[in-house]
C-alpha cells in the first residue's frame, strides 16, 4: 500500500505498475487470501483463496446463489453498497490491500472497472458524454484530452465506427449490444487496470454476444479480465482460467482446459456436465 491517493491524471500518465517480478510466472493482478464475506448473518463467500492472472480472462462459474457475483464485486468493493456487509481476509491488487483502512473505495473502483449484466448507459447523457463521464466527474476538464480518450475508448470497445457520427445522440438510443459495448467503453475510459464483467452477455442475443466475446478476447492484451458467466460454453470459449464456486466456496480453480476436460473435483464435473445447477 504505497500511493492510495492517486489521481486520475496520474493513473492516465503512468501505466499500471508492473506486477512484482519476484514471483515465477505467471504474473498475478489479484491475490485473494482467505476471503470471507457476510451479508448480515449470512456468509456469502467462505474462505476463498485464489490468484487472478494478469492479461488473461478468468471466468467465475457456478449455480445461482453460489457467491460468484459477490466475489467479483468484492474485487472492487462494490458489494459494500449493500448495508451490513463484513469482510475477512485480504485482496491484494498488485500487492496493495484493497481493504486496508486508508484505501478509498472510489480509488479502488477507478483502478478496477466494472461492466454489469444489464447495460446501463446514463439516460440523461449522449453517447459521447456517457463515455467520458467517469473522467469528467473525477475532475478532468481538458477538452482535447477528453476527445482523444473518447475516440480511443470507443475504438477499444469496437463501437467507434458504428457511432462516430452519432456521438450527440442519447446513449439509450443504441441497440442492446451496442449499449453494452458503450458501457465497456465508459469503463475503459478511466483506464482501469482490471475489467470486471458481471454476466455481460446474459441479456444479449447471440450475435451481440459474439461481438462482446470477441471484444473480451482483444481486451485481454491490455487488461486483466474477470467475468462471471452462467453460460458454460461461453466460459469455455473466452476464458483462460476458470473458477467453480458452489455455496460460497471455491471448489476448483485452474486453467480452463483442465477444468473442462479433466476436473479434479467430482462437484465440478457434475456441474459442467449439467448434472446439477
Amino acid at each position: 500500500m504505497t500511493t492510495p491517493e492517486r489521481t486520475v491524471m496520474e493513473d492516465v500518465d503512468q501505466p499500471a505498475e508492473p506486477p512484482p517480478a519476484d514471483e515465477s510466472a505467471p504474473a498475478c493482478t489479484f491475490r485473494v487470501k482467505n476471503l470471507s464475506i457476510w451479508y448480515g448473518e449470512k456468509r456469502a463467500i467462505d474462505n476463498v483463496t485464489l490468484d487472478i492472472v494478469s492479461n488473461a480472462v478468468s471466468a467465475i462459474i457456478g449455480p445461482s446463489g453460489c457467491g460468484k457475483s459477490t466475489f467479483i464485486r468484492a474485487l472492487n468493493r462494490m458489494h459494500e453498497l449493500v448495508p451490513k456487509t463484513r469482510v475477512e481476509g485480504t485482496v491484494l491488487l498488485h500487492g496493495e490491500d484493497l481493504y486496508s483502512n486508508d484505501v478509498d473505495p472510489a480509488i479502488v473502483r477507478r483502478r478496477v472497472g466494472m461492466v454489469f449484466q444489464k447495460s446501463n448507459p446514463f439516460p440523461t447523457m449522449s453517447i459521447g458524454e456517457n463515455v467520458i463521464v467517469g473522467l469528467r466527474l473525477n475532475g478532468v476538464r481538458d477538452r482535447k484530452f477528453l476527445n482523444e480518450r473518447l475516440e480511443k475508448s470507443l475504438r477499444m470497445a469496437a463501437l467507434w465506427d458504428e457511432v462516430k457520427d452519432d456521438l450527440h445522440k442519447p446513449g439509450t438510443s443504441l441497440s442492446g449490444g451496442q449499449q453494452q459495448r458503450l458501457c465497456i467503453a465508459r469503463a475503459l475510459a478511466v483506464e482501469p487496470e482490471v475489467l470486471l464483467m458481471d454476466e455481460p452477455c446474459s441479456a444479449l442475443d447471440p450475435i451481440a454476444t459474439a461481438k462482446i466475446e470477441e471484444l473480451i478476447y482483444e481486451l485481454k492484451a491490455k487488461y486483466t479480465i474477470v467475468t462471471v458467466t452462467h453460460n458454460m460454453q461461453q466460459a469455455g470459449r473466452i476464458s483462460d482460467y476458470t473458477a467453480f464456486f458452489y455455496l460460497g466456496r471455491l471448489i476448483e480453480f485452474g486453467p480452463t482446459t483442465k477444468i473442462f476436460t479433466n476436473p479434479s473435483e467430482r462437484q465440478t464435473e457434475d456441474y459442467i456436465t449439467g448434472r446439477f445447477g
Binding site: A106, R109, G113, F122, T124, V133, G134, L137, C183
Partner: protein, 286 residues
C-alpha cells in the same frame, strides 16, 4: 362449456354498461366544479382584468379604477422567499430519505412528513405568528414566506423522495464503479436523472402555496401599498381577494373576482407547464 347461455351474456353486457355509465358520470362530477368555477370567474372577473389591474395600486374606497399590482408582486416575492427556504430543505430532505439513513428512522420521518402535509394551513400561520411575528414585533414578508415554506417542505420532500427512488439502482452502481464519489453520483447522476420529477414537485408545491390565504393572515398581513422592506407587511393576491370579497363595496367585489381569475389562471399555467415537462416521462425514466 358451450355458448348456449346467451342470456347470461346479455345480462353481463347490461351490468357492464351500467357500471361504466356510473363511472363516467362520477368523472364528470369531479371535473364539473373546475369548469363551473372557471366559467363563473370568467363571467364575473374578466371584465375587470385590464391593464390597470396589473399596473396600478388599489384605488381608495369610492374612487373608480385601481389595480392589484402590489398584491401580484407581493405574491411573487412571498413565493421567492418561500422557495428560497422550502426548496433546498425539501429537496435535500427528500434525497436524504431516498439515499441515506436507516430504514427505521426513515419510515418515521416519512410518516411525520405525511402528518405535516395534513396539518391545516392556518396552523402554520399561527405557528409563525408565535415564533416570528410576536418576537420581532411586527408582520412581515419574511414571516409570510416562512409560513408558506413550512407548507412546501413536506410536499417537496415527499415528491423528491419518490422520484429519486424511481431512479434505477443500475445508474448509481455504474457511476460508483467508475470511481465517482457518492455525493457526485447523487448530484450528477441520480438528481439529474430525476430532475424533471423534482422540478415538477417544486412547481406543484409553489402552485399550492401561491393560493394560500390562511397562513398569511397572521404573518404577511397584507398591505394596500408597495412593500418597501421585507421586514414590513406585504400584500398578497389571496389576501387581497379575501379583504375585497368581504368588503361592502361593489368596486372591490369586482376587483376580487378579477384577482381570483388571475390567481386561478396562474395556478392553471403552472400545472400546464408541469404537464409539458412530464410528457417525455417514459423516455427519460423519471
Amino acid at each position: 362449456m358451450r355458448f348456449e347461455r346467451a342470456h347470461h351474456h346479455t345480462w353481463r353486457k347490461i351490468k357492464s354498461g351500467l357500471v361504466s355509465t356510473i363511472a363516467f358520470v362520477s368523472a364528470l362530477l369531479v371535473i364539473a366544479p373546475l369548469g363551473l368555477v372557471f366559467f363563473h370567474l370568467l363571467v364575473n372577473g374578466a371584465g375587470s382584468v385590464n391593464w390597470d389591474f396589473f399596473t396600478k395600486l388599489p384605488a381608495p374606497v369610492g374612487a373608480a379604477g385601481g389595480g392589484m399590482v402590489n398584491a401580484i408582486v407581493g405574491t411573487l416575492e412571498l413565493l421567492a422567499l418561500a422557495g428560497a427556504i422550502g426548496i433546498p430543505v425539501g429537496v435535500l430532505g427528500g434525497i436524504y430519505l431516498a439515499e441515506y439513513g436507516s430504514a427505521r428512522i426513515n419510515s418515521i420521518l416519512r410518516f411525520l412528513a405525511d402528518v405535516l402535509n395534513g396539518i391545516p394551513s392556518i396552523t402554520w400561520g399561527v405557528v409563525v405568528y408565535g415564533l416570528v411575528v410576536l418576537r420581532f414585533k411586527g408582520f412581515s414578508a419574511y414571516a409570510g414566506g416562512l409560513a408558506l415554506s413550512l407548507i412546501m417542505i413536506p410536499l417537496i420532500l415527499r415528491t423528491t423522495e419518490e422520484v429519486v427512488l424511481l431512479v434505477p439502482n443500475g445508474y448509481r452502481e455504474a457511476a460508483l464503479a467508475l470511481g465517482v464519489s457518492r455525493w457526485k453520483t447523487i448530484v450528477h447522476i441520480v438528481m439529474k436523472t430525476a430532475s424533471k420529477g423534482i422540478i415538477t414537485g417544486i412547481l406543484l408545491a409553489l402552485a399550492r402555496v401561491g393560493g394560500e390565504t390562511a397562513p398569511l393572515l397572521f404573518t404577511a398581513f397584507g398591505n394596500r401599498f408597495w412593500n418597501h422592506s421585507l421586514s414590513q407587511p406585504i400584500a398578497a393576491l389571496p389576501l387581497q381577494i379575501f379583504t375585497y370579497a368581504i368588503s361592502p363595496y361593489d368596486d372591490w367585489h369586482r376587483q376580487a373576482w378579477a384577482g381570483a381569475l388571475v390567481l386561478v389562471t396562474g395556478v392553471f399555467c403552472v400545472n400546464v407547464i408541469v404537464r409539458v415537462l412530464t410528457r417525455g416521462r417514459a423516455a427519460s425514466v423519471v
